[in-house]
Each structure stands twice: as structure tokens, then as C-alpha cells.
Symmetry: C2
């Protein structure tokens, strides 16, 4: 990505994005940019040079998250021969990404302010395609319950519970995810209320529409 930067500049850019990602998760997207700079170990000047405003930074973090998710989906889909296991791996991984905390605040940016290239859209398509394939195969195998749609999976990707400090939260979340996976098995339970959520139900989800040029 981002090319034509001197080596140190490139390194700092990545440090900043990583720090921002952490802080957005921990404290919300309103953290002072100075704090981001501090955590990244760079000066504010450096941050402002690379990211003219908060939105630019937000966008970078969003892109990175989505890319990670897309990679995860495709890797799981490709490397795991059994569709059900692929789905498990994907869901465990995406919950670990802690996507749930970001989009609530990212959303308005994605929709309104972001003038965004086709990259994001493409990554989104990659995720959808992979998830769809996993779902269909797993349902054909009789492993995944049939009243589940891609929209449901997308929802579950952002699964989140509050884990109090002091508790080993990764372990706790691990248990929760497994419970959910058990709830997704074909033999799991009574039919769900409503109808399976499909991609259209998530039209607005991390939606990347090119905003009308102003």
C-alpha cells in the first residue's frame, strides 16, 4: 500500500495506525490524537503530516480491519477442507479481531464523509463471497443449521460481551464463541424468529458506497 515513503516514514505510519486501532478500541474514536501519537511513540507533527485529519486516520484503521477480515475469511475458506470447521475458524478469528467496537463509530464516516476508492468495496465483496461459500457448503453438509443467512454470520462476527478487568478476557470470550458455534449447529435447536438475514439486510453494514461527489 502507501508507497514512495522513506523507510522511517513508512514504519511510523504503521505504528500510528496500530496505535490508533488499539486506542479506538479501548477508548472510542474520540481519543485525542495526541494520545495516539504518544502511544505510537511519535510526535503529533508526524501524525498530522501523515493524516491531515481524524477522518483520514479513521479510514486507515477501517481499511486495515477490513483487510484483515477479508484475509481471514479467504484463508479459512481455502485452508480448511471441512466447511463447518472453516466457519468455526472464521468466526473465532473475527471475534478476536474485536470488530464490534469499531463500526458503530466508523459508520457515519464510511457513509458520509469518506471518499473511498474501490478497494474497500472489493474487500467487502471478498468477505461476502467467502462467507457465502462456507455457509452453503456447511449447510449442504448438514453441519450448519439452515435458518441462518450470511447476514447472521456478519452480525456474529461483531460478537462482544463485557469482560471485567482482571478476568482473562480472551478465555472468557473463547467460551462465549464456542457457545455460539454450538448454537449454530444443524442439530442445535428450535427455529429462529424471523427469517435468515441475507446480504441485503446488511446493505448498510460497513457499506461502501461512493458518496456523491460534492
Amino acid at each position: 500500500m502507501e508507497k514512495g515513503l522513506r523507510a522511517d516514514a513508512r514504519r511510523n505510519r504503521d505504528l500510528i495506525v496500530a496505535a490508533a486501532r488499539e486506542l479506538f478500541l479501548e477508548q472510542g474514536v474520540d481519543v485525542p490524537l495526541e494520545e495516539v501519537a504518544r502511544r505510537a511513540g511519535v510526535g503529533v507533527g508526524t501524525l498530522y503530516r501523515r493524516f491531515p485529519d481524524r477522518d483520514a486516520l479513521l479510514r486507515a484503521v477501517g481499511e486495515e480491519s477490513l483487510r484483515r477480515l477479508a484475509d481471514l475469511a479467504e484463508t479459512a475458506c481455502r485452508d480448511e477442507p471441512d466447511a463447518w470447521h472453516a466457519l468455526c475458524r472464521f468466526l473465532r478469528g473475527s471475534v478476536a479481531l474485536r470488530l464490534g467496537v469499531l463500526p458503530a463509530k466508523l459508520e457515519p464516516h464510511l457513509h458520509q464523509r469518506m471518499r473511498v476508492g474501490p478497494d474497500l468495496h472489493e474487500m467487502r465483496q471478498r468477505v461476502i463471497a467467502a462467507v457465502l461459500r462456507m455457509i452453503e457448503r456447511a449447510q449442504a453438509d448438514g453441519a450448519l443449521r439452515t435458518d441462518i443467512g450470511p447476514g447472521d454470520v456478519a452480525l456474529l462476527m461483531t460478537l462482544n460481551v463485557y469482560t471485567p478487568p482482571g478476568m482473562h478476557s480472551e478465555q472468557a470470550m473463547g467460551r462465549v464463541v464456542e457457545i455460539v458455534l454450538d448454537g449454530l449447529r444443524a442439530d442445535a435447536g428450535s427455529p429462529l424468529p424471523g427469517t435468515p438475514l441475507d446480504e441485503d439486510d446488511l446493505r448498510h453494514y460497513t457499506a461502501v458506497r461512493l458518496p456523491p461527489a460534492e
Copy 2:
């Protein structure tokens, strides 16, 4: 609760707490208090008179949430003859309370700044007792999987997924909760990783310890 207030004062107090609860959920606990006042339909002065600082308001909101939760737990436990159904009702209800968004920010207050009476502690006990009873009975009935502890249920109470605007989020959350409930059934699945979380694992959870008087 709060007694000795003139009727209008009392009414305003409640309006403020309700507004604060909404806004804390929507925008985080850092919302300007002026905005809380506006939504409550009162002047800032009124808010400050009743709640000297943000912490006081936070505390009030926390108390109310916990009380609702306690009521829910006891009602479910009492009114529902079948333990499994009681648990379902409780979990559906507590997720609807959207507890998950609050405590992350409430926590430091509960721990460090809040000089809190025994009421909170007592309400917490009420929740624990009711949950414990539901769990034990449901497990004895062979309805609830046995590798689940009260701590797990407490975690699940705060269940949360990101629902994009435009989607009917209540319906979506409803599906998620049912999936989780299916995952909790005795016949659900493979054993969970780790050991059942008990109350001690949640010692810090909405923990109400009298802070050392300063």
C-alpha cells in the same frame, strides 16, 4: 428511593436519569451534561443541583440498571415454573437491557470513586442468588449444559453485536440471543474450553466493594 423532594423535582430527577441512561448508551458516558439536560427537557442548572458531578449521575444510572436487572432475575425465577424457560426469559430480558455498553465505562467509577451504600451490594446478591438457582435447577432438569457456571451467564447478559443503522436491530438481536440459548442447551455440543466461570471469576464484575475511606 430519593425522598423528600417536591413532586416536580422528583419528576425531573427521574427524567434526567432516564435521559442520561439513553445517552450513555448511545454516545458513551462522556456526553456533555448539557445534552443530558436538553434531552431530559430541563435546564442545566436543574441537573447540577440534583447531581453535583458526573459521578453522581453515573452512579444513579448504574443503580437503576442494576435494580432493573435484579427485578428481572427474580421475576423470571419466580414466575416461570420451568427453570430452563426462566433462564431464557432472563437472558432475553437482560440482553434487551443492553447492559453491555455501560459497565466498561462504569467500572472505574464503581471501583474507585463510588462511595456506595450497601444497596448495590444487596442487589448484586439478589441477581446472583436468582441466577444460581435457575442454573442449578435447569441443570438438574437436564435442560442446561453442565459446563456452564454463573459467571458464564453473567457474561452473556452483556451480549452485544453491532447492528448497523437501518436494520431492525431488535429483531437481529433476538435471533442472536436465540442462537446463544440453543448453544446453552444440554444437548448442544462439545465441551467448552476452560472451566465453568463461577461468581468468583466475576469478583470484579460490577463489584461493589466499599472503597477505603480516603
